[in-house]
Symmetry: D2
Subunit: 372 residues, 4 copies
């Protein structure tokens, strides 16, 4: 399957950026979960472009829950959300039909779908599809919060500027929840916005690094050999358009350390087993160890830029220049963070559902549950 | 499912490091593929520890094909390979039962499996399990080679030393196929070996970066939204013990570039559509674009070290020191590369099988197949 | 997953009978397939209740394709169809909330979903959900017809009356395609309608046997050990509400025969390998053998009847009587046949997609393809 | 996937009847389950042919647990069982290479696997493969018994003779557990054996009907729309070689009843909600309702018979006669019942694992768990 993700809890995306509606179906959601329309609206607003640093396209993102909710709670049946496409001018994209944008999905989509794909505005590949993904994410995040699990993402780097590192996680996550530009240090955030604006004025774009923290996660999530927590999360995270790298804990920096420094020693703290450091980002042997989960994604600069670029005319086979018109985002990093939160929440909630039975049995039989 | 990987073509691993045998089942292999025992033996030899820089444990890795092969070719039925555990002294591990090794799977395995897991030598978590994975990989690599697809992995960095970058890929891959220490520049390889030896003498370990190149891959592999080529590969690559990061093309370095530099312009070369640069590592929009596939993994230093480390006694709940005895590898990077090749081959072969029908239809109906 | 079916080609159903809309998502459909709105409308009309023998509820079944189609052909992206619920009076069902209808899903749904399920009109369990299933089926049937595969279902028995057996299949299937009451012998059809009407007048309901034939199917579909053609089809067929049995070929009658009579001898006919009889319904060893596929389902009498029935009040725990009001169908057999066709088409198209690559390779390598 | 079955709990079969070993891998088994070698041996013995009524081939079925068990309990890691093929004379089958046995998998396997399949003794299609399936089943049945769930299968009909119907289920199941010829009425069993012997003397074979009962099953297993309990069970049951039909409760007989007789009224008995009759075999709306689960399979007569039969020589394309030599079973019905038990146990245990978390939550939140 291609447009579905998850094992027990699955999310299916459908729609094209210039069709009447886009949407998603969530299946496997347990009955009785609170479904809060205001949380969905809040997350969709955080995904929305804002001002200079984002595309001029207005996306008010009204949404409609079609099924799966009764009296404010999930029924256990598939939950479908629809989001209408209000402001789409397909003429903007007409000249892209035969001249694929460099580093975009235009060319590979053409090869794969044999010319039958809807070419308007990227069609099903459009970043628009992250809207239903984020709407679903709001439901997953609410469910995690009910279990005491909280997560959030900040822009660790953007346009050459670094945010401060995560500190006291609970406070940092609470701050990010409300932040429309998700940084921990406001001054550095302003510097990032300046860098993005400069690139935009030059008809260019910038990328960045998104860093996520999860607290309250029990030990025991993830499975050998192939459904490691890292493997499942990265599988989903690479669906975020423009993500080209994922690292957990200290990630690539660990490769320069010796084992004696990279290892996280075990300690006892308040009756619980913890680690003294967290270079491994809360994961040992592919399984969560009860410490905060920490990871970063590399978001490349938006491929759609105003500057002229070289491409090939697929109809004539000749090289030509292309200038991408329409309204494009010089930096998707700020908006992508709620997508990252949503995918993370889906993977974690899916694993928690799968483990629910296991955990309770382990406790009953004297297993390692006391530390959960 | 946890110990299986792949959609149509699946690999299932079983066994523990101190059981009688470990093995794998490959299901979904198409009938008629050449199964070469000498290629399996060659890859298992490359995975084997060698001399100073690796564990003193001897692993001659004899193997036995139990099913799925008739007269030297795959039958289309499940192919089971068994590898006996010849030289395992379980007493080495007895003291690990209650004192989990830092940054190892001991603690998380205990939590997850409630104390029922086989604790001897890491049990099912042991790196030994990569032996059947590599045996299977040999079959996948042979099948890819028959389709003109070749791949290989070198140590891009280890112990602070960098190998030279990939150059002419066909020649580099041919060189790596035979190299027991997989570097492109022999002098730098010697420097790496020296760095590993130093760490070993200090009772410590080092990590590194493994870089893979694939040539001959057709455009069109991978699917929106969730089965991107990056997502599927990373899902598998994080199963390699100690991998903590994966990046495609220029990966994290892309986040410091502007779009005008990060984009790969399209060109026509010898009647085929190619890109002038390959910063995106052969993948656009989650789908292969026909250029060489390039990616890197971050391998952390081996967590098993001889130096004393702090841990917690799970039985008493008290903090204690542990000194890991037994024979341990000061650097698994050189051996891990055939594991990386094997997982890569599984993902690619699985996708090629899934696409086989699609491609032929697209051609027949005038789609983009001419460029494949 | 629960509300999705299919491996490569998947159908997901969503919606409740008293929500705003019900619908489906088809994923994995290959690009370029003709999507004919008139075929969808025609099949939805055959599913619609008609006159005396069916529920008085009017279901005009307008539908809307939301995504996945561009210029009349599938794009390869998920295809979503929405069907509004026009005529639903939820007050009809209010009294069912605490008094589950015998042999309906009311009680088991309550147990499973913990009281959170939408109780109005059966909610997600409602037979209404077969409308999007049939809309999807129309697309699958069109795709099969383009490959020369045709199928149809007649009422083999209903209300104690037997239809004539299948004869010349091509003609019989062409006849059934247009038949609003799907029998091969019109006189027997009239007798069935009489029997249904009698039961309706008595406040009661009847069941029947639906028999399906498929022609043009190549040999080689289905896989040992667990994805046999029988297993995959039956898995889907039991989703038809009220189906309690499935048999292939002569089915249960075979158990009274000796092997010498039950076996289908091989013969050569016009250069193709055929069987002299077809007691096995076109399947040997779980794999299609190129002969017509034949199977039957047992459809129990509709559980919703007007006669008073004994049940238990879930709120008080006391036994009580229930009289199901509202408009109910005294016999769903005639309408269920397009559901049976749709599920059959999904399973077959999914298998054909999976085999597409395999087949072409077998031919190239001298396998058994000449007979396909 | 083809040779694996189950969602969370999966069974993978491998091997060929004339290879060195056949076996299975069980993945997803929870840690801490008792694995009893004597139960495995007992079930394998019941699957073994016995005396006149079965093949003369001796299959002592020694087995070896390769992984996944430590100190008599499951570890949570994949459990591999190997069974050597001791007494296989491949010359018996040489003449079958080009002349497929009627109604066997020989021809369809040839078409599907392009002539690469191992032809000796049916290869991977051989009924021998049910040995590892039954070994796995013994583990599943033990796990069910620990939860108070018991099941068993009797020969309801064979060679024209009917066994008595199920009566007091607990006693009947206890009786069947030890019965080498699984009937409830010994006299009728003798008559069946006589009928089988007669067929065998005539060089022919007979089939029969196997009926299974399950007691102690909680309500709530199975899911709309596509993973109904009937659908999942039938999917597995059709893997039993020679099964051509499956019916639940009164099955096909229900189609002759009116709703008022077919419906099972709800009653209260000892504080629990039960049904007054059980025509629906313990399943409503695809979900278990807490009553005994009842179903029947149609087992066709063994296709391998000594009488001469017509077939086609695949090499020459000419019609020819075939006489199947070697030792063949005139009736596999008695032996198939442990296969039926094993597949049933796999499906039920898999569903119970999946539901474990759900159930406990429903209880906590005031759902319908009190009746479980």
């Amino acid at each position: 399957m291609n447009n579905s993700f998850g094992r027990r809890l699955t999310l299916t995306l459908f729609g094209e950026s210039h069709g009447p509606e886009i949407g998603c179906v969530i299946d496997g959601l347990r009955p009785g979960l609170r479904v809060e329309e205001e949380t969905i609206a809040r997350l969709l607003a955080l995904r929305r472009p804002a001002g200079l640093i984002s595309t001029a396209r207005l996306e008010p993102d009204p949404f409609r829950i079609v099924s799966g909710v009764y009296q404010g709670r999930s029924t256990g049946s598939p939950l479908c959300i629809l989001i209408p496409n209000l402001d789409s001018r397909s003429s903007d994209y007409v000249n892209l039909l035969n001249t694929p944008r460099p580093s975009h999905a235009d060319y590979t989509g053409f090869v794969k779908y044999g010319g039958f794909a809807d070419p308007r505005g990227g069609g099903h590949f459009s970043g628009r599809l992250t809207a239903p993904l984020v709407a679903a994410g709001a439901i997953f995040l609410t469910a995690l919060a009910e279990q005491g699990i909280f997560l959030g993402t900040h822009i660790a780097r953007c346009g050459g500027i670094a945010d401060r590192a995560f500190g006291e996680l609970r406070a940092d996550l609470r701050h990010l929840e409300q932040a429309s530009f998700p940084v921990l240090d406001a001054a550095r955030g302003k510097a990032m916005i300046r860098a993005i604006s400069e690139a935009a004025r030059a008809g260019d774009s910038v990328g960045g690094v998104l860093e996520t923290a999860v607290i309250g996660l029990p030990a025991g999530l993830g499975e050998p050999w192939f459904d490691t927590l890292e493997g499942l999360l990265s599988h989903g995270l690479f669906s975020i358009p423009a993500v080209k790298g994922v690292e957990f804990g200290d990630g690539f920096a660990l490769t320069e350390q010796r084992g004696s420094r990279a290892n996280d020693a075990f300690r006892v703290e308040g009756g619980r087993i913890v680690t003294a450091s967290n270079h491994n980002g809360g994961i040992n042997g592919g399984i969560s160890n009860g410490m905060p989960l920490l990871f970063r994604t590399a978001v490349k600069p938006t491929p759609s830029i105003a500057l002229p670029q070289q491409t090939v005319n697929l109809a004539t086979g000749e090289e030509t220049m292309i200038q991408v018109e329409g309204r494009h985002d010089p930096c998707i990093v700020p908006r992508a963070r709620v997508v990252q939160d949503s995918i993370t929440a889906l993977v974690l909630l899916d694993l928690l559902e799968a483990e629910a039975g296991t955990k309770q049995r382990n406790c009953a039989e004297g297993g390692g549950c006391s530390t959960l």
